[in-house]
């Protein structure tokens, strides 16, 4: 009944859409023919003759833009057939359907862009090419290049989701009782359930990432990936303190610094190996976590935030001023770099490349570091997920919900808080010693409040307590700041605007539902409103 009404109501608007689309398509076609001859074919004088080069991709991009603008004008400005405002309430369903039909098209386009990198790089290189004099045009084409990168990224993500789904279907075949009916690979189930494969898809992509970005940009891409994964690991560590235990910590970078300096000092003084120093750095950082925890046991909310902020600054200032121990502002140099089972990544005869008979390539070192931090981050995630289902993890969450009730149930709130601080700090310590061995040089400048704020932003944007949210937020935060590097100083402006928009759209972060840690019959995600409501 309601369905037929909805169809009847959406009939008229769809014809508006259809007309607008047809109109836009026509405009795009005309634009393509025009731009094709003007932009698509370029003659360049070379060695006293003219060489014809093809730039169909520019022409296509420009035509698409014309079509898009035409479409927008049709729908929102000229309002050709009926007022669009009247169609908007029913518009949501149509919008969803349009997206679902557009997705395969986007997917194919992404595949083309991804598999034929010359397309992508063609767009990307365009911004700096001499083909156009106009600054704005070059900006626009740069933008097109970025869009093409984004679309090919989407292709990779969806491929990863499909792969994850296939793995799951395969597993359900080997274990038939695991609900095969729901596992069928139908188009409907595919679009509906694909989002549930997000986490495994990201894991698969993360594991094969060095292959995906092979090419001239690999070094840069892997460097960025290492930064992203480090941020994810820090985010997961802070998530224990802020997301689970509800203790707002603005000085998290202090533990990162403790870990980095522990490794740097031990490795330079005693020459111990990274894998020995790593747990030590974790222990030192955890010790500092407890040290911070004691004075703030009675504090909550804003007051806690101020004290932790001060703690972070104290650590940084001590690092600057304790010259004889930490090297002061000039930091610590020549920190031993991590090798592959003792094989250093250098040109020497005892190095990694000589041992395996490979040609020397400095990218291999970065790829190795990438896998090290990936393993550390996955370890963090594993431990956190386990802890959430254990008494201590539940006590953290209970503490966040109501401290007084915790005490009335016999939970020692002091040790519960201290363990949250200590374990959160320990993971920061691990990440810190990785940072030190990767950089080979550390100084207090790397551990400013800015870093704490960034990690906290990742946790808050992702949704407090959500593990996958931290991943998405880290990729979005670091990825976007790299992505928009060409926009130079405008990039922080865009960054800020995105942040404001996101927080108005989803005030509880990207992933705001909470998964219960124990289930009797069937799991139901708990929406943020409820968690929020109970806190008020």
């Amino acid at each position: 009944m309601a369905a037929t009404e909805a169809i009847a109501a959406s009939d008229a608007p769809r014809s508006v859409m259809g007309e607008a689309l047809r109109d836009a398509g026509l405009a795009g076609l005309v634009a393509f023919i025009l731009f094709g001859s003007l932009v698509g074919l370029v003659t360049e004088p070379q060695q006293e003759k003219l060489v014809l080069t093809y730039q169909w991709e520019y022409a296509l991009g420009l035509a698409l833009m014309v079509a898009a603008v035409r479409f927008l004008l049709d729908v929102f400005v000229w309002r050709r057939v009926v007022p669009v405002a009247a169609a908007l309430p029913q518009g949501l369903m149509r919008y969803k359907r349009a997206l679902l039909t557009a997705l395969p098209a986007l997917y194919i386009l992404g595949g083309v862009l991804f598999l034929i990198p010359s397309f992508r790089e063609g767009f990307g290189a365009l911004g700096g090419s001499a083909g156009f004099e106009g600054e704005w045009l070059s900006r626009i084409t740069t933008g097109l290049g970025l869009v093409s990168i984004a679309i090919s990224g989407l292709f990779v993500l969806i491929t990863g989701m499909l792969a994850a789904r296939l793995v799951r279907i395969f597993v359900s075949w080997t274990r038939p009782q695991a609900g095969q009916a729901q596992m069928a690979l139908t188009p409907q189930s595919l679009t509906r359930d694909l989002m549930s494969e997000l986490a495994p898809a990201l894991l698969i992509i993360a594991l094969v990432l060095p292959l995906l970005v092979a090419g001239p940009q690999q070094r840069y891409a892997m460097d960025t990936a290492v930064r992203v994964v480090t941020m994810i690991m820090l985010g997961w560590g802070l998530n224990i303190v802020v997301g689970l235990a509800g203790l707002l910590d603005l000085g998290y970078v202090a533990f990162y610094a403790v870990g980095a300096y522990s490794y740097a000092l031990i490795a330079t003084e005693f020459g111990w190996s990274f894998w020995v120093c790593l747990p030590l750095a974790g222990i030192f950082a955890a010790f500092f976590g407890v040290m911070l925890g004691f004075p703030v046991l009675r504090l909550r909310g804003d007051y806690l935030a101020i004290v932790t902020l001060a703690f972070g600054e104290i650590i940084r200032i001590v690092l600057i001023n304790w010259q004889s121990f930490t090297g002061g502002p000039s930091g610590i140099n020549n920190i031993p770099q991590l090798g592959f089972f003792g094989l250093p990544f250098n040109r020497s005869d005892t190095g990694f490349h000589a041992f395996f008979g490979l040609e020397f390539n400095s990218v291999h070192r970065i790829i190795f570091f990438y896998y090290v931090i990936l393993a550390l981050a996955l370890f963090t995630n594993f431990v956190t997920k386990r802890l959430r289902r254990l008494p201590i993890g539940r006590a953290w969450e209970a503490l966040r919900e109501d401290e007084i009730a915790c005490r009335s149930l016999g939970i020692n709130t002091v040790t519960t808080k201290l363990t949250a601080f200590a374990i959160g700090a320990m993971f920061a310590g691990f990440a810190g010693s990785f940072f030190a061995t990767r950089q080979g040089f550390i100084s207090p400048e790397s551990f400013t409040f800015h870093e704490s704020a960034l990690v906290l932003a990742v946790v808050v944007l992702g949704g407090l307590g959500s593990q996958i949210g931290v991943v998405i937020a880290s990729i979005a935060l670091i990825g976007s700041s790299e992505f928009f590097r060409d926009l130079e100083e405008y990039r922080l402006l865009i960054f800020g605007a995105c942040m404001v928009l996101l927080m108005t759209w989803r005030p509880r972060g990207l992933v705001s539902t909470r998964t219960p840690s124990a289930v009797l019959n069937r799991p139901k995600p708990i929406t943020a409103d409820i968690v929020e409501g109970s806190r008020a």
Binding site: P391, R394, E397, I411, L520, N521, I526, I530, S534
Partner: protein
């Protein structure tokens, strides 16, 4: 009515907040396997007494003793007080001096559980999780403070299963089993009240302190609560200390009533006695103008 079967003995309890005397030299006993009600007009100091017993306030003066395992340990009480220790255990039982204990230990060691006047559930967690948090100490020990749990050892898994069984038992007892996977904050008011009792029971207490459990319940829910409390008392060997304004509940289920007014005890006895005590009637209903002087004189006396 011998002193022997007391589980909680409160002696000369006084709580001052600056110049305000909230509880003034209060002494009473809660007896084993009985429901003791603490009643009185608003502001009489009932919740303050509760907060002292459960360790949220440190009393200004007085001694509160919790007695495990019968009366025979009672003679040790003065030695314990003099020794400065928190508790003493002999073959016959244990004594705990609540005023010396840290808040969380009162629940963990002395086995006193409580609910709150304004419900304090872990709203963002599910009903089941609320009950598992209540078994924190036991599970924590079983998992070697979560370390064994990280490796998923069998001993922890068994403990977890037992904890789930206990949780389901209390969910069935409070008729909440169908809501087990819902967030606690989603429950109706009456359900939340019962969940709080179930959560307190999951700590396996010997003394259960209920702060206005019937507040906000409709008559049918109140009647169900009465039945539940009686059932708990009879089947779980439990003593209950109760603050309540709903006289239907108080008179229906209490074995023993203590009446407070302005921080002082004005009456103490069985429901039938308290109901007819002129002090209580005066405190609750006031008195006719011409009787004021007489009653005041009697109260002074």
């Amino acid at each position: 009515m011998t002193a022997g079967d007391a589980i909680l003995r409160v002696e000369h309890l006084t709580m001052r907040f600056g110049g305000l005397v909230a509880v003034d030299d209060l002494s009473f006993e809660a007896r084993r396997r009985e429901i003791t009600a603490l009643i009185g007009p608003n502001g009489a100091g009932k919740t303050t007494v509760f907060n002292c017993i459960t360790g949220f306030y440190k009393p200004t003066e007085g001694r509160m003793t919790l007695i495990h395992g019968g009366a025979s340990a009672l003679p040790l009480i003065d030695d314990l007080t003099a020794s400065g220790a928190v508790s003493v255990t002999s073959e016959s039982g244990s004594l705990f001096l609540l005023e010396r204990m840290e808040g969380h230990k009162i629940s963990a060691d002395a086995k006193v559980a409580r609910t709150f006047q304004n419900i304090r559930l872990f709203g963002g967690m599910t009903v089941l999780e609320n009950l598992l948090v209540a078994q924190h100490n036991e599970l924590s020990r079983a998992s070697f403070y979560s370390i064994a749990g990280i490796f998923g050892l069998a001993s922890y898994r068994r403990a977890q299963e037992k904890a789930m069984e206990l949780a389901v038992y209390w969910l069935e007892a409070t008729n909440l089993v169908h809501r087990a996977d819902d967030a606690a904050a989603e429950l109706s008011y009456g359900d939340q009240r019962r969940l709080e009792i179930a959560r307190a029971m999951c700590t396996k207490p010997l003394l259960l302190c209920l702060d206005e459990p019937a507040a906000g319940l409709n008559p049918r829910e109140s009647a169900e609560l009465n039945a539940l409390l009686k059932w708990i008392r009879d089947t779980h060997n439990l003593s209950i200390l109760l603050i309540e304004h709903d006289m239907g509940v108080v008179m229906g289920i209490s074995d023993h009533i203590v009446v407070l007014d302005y921080g002082r005890k004005i009456s103490d006895g069985a429901p039938a006695f308290v109901r007819n005590d002129p002090h209580v009637i005066a405190a609750y209903l006031g008195v006719d103008d011409e009787d004021v002087a007489g009653v005041e004189a009697e109260v002074q006396r």
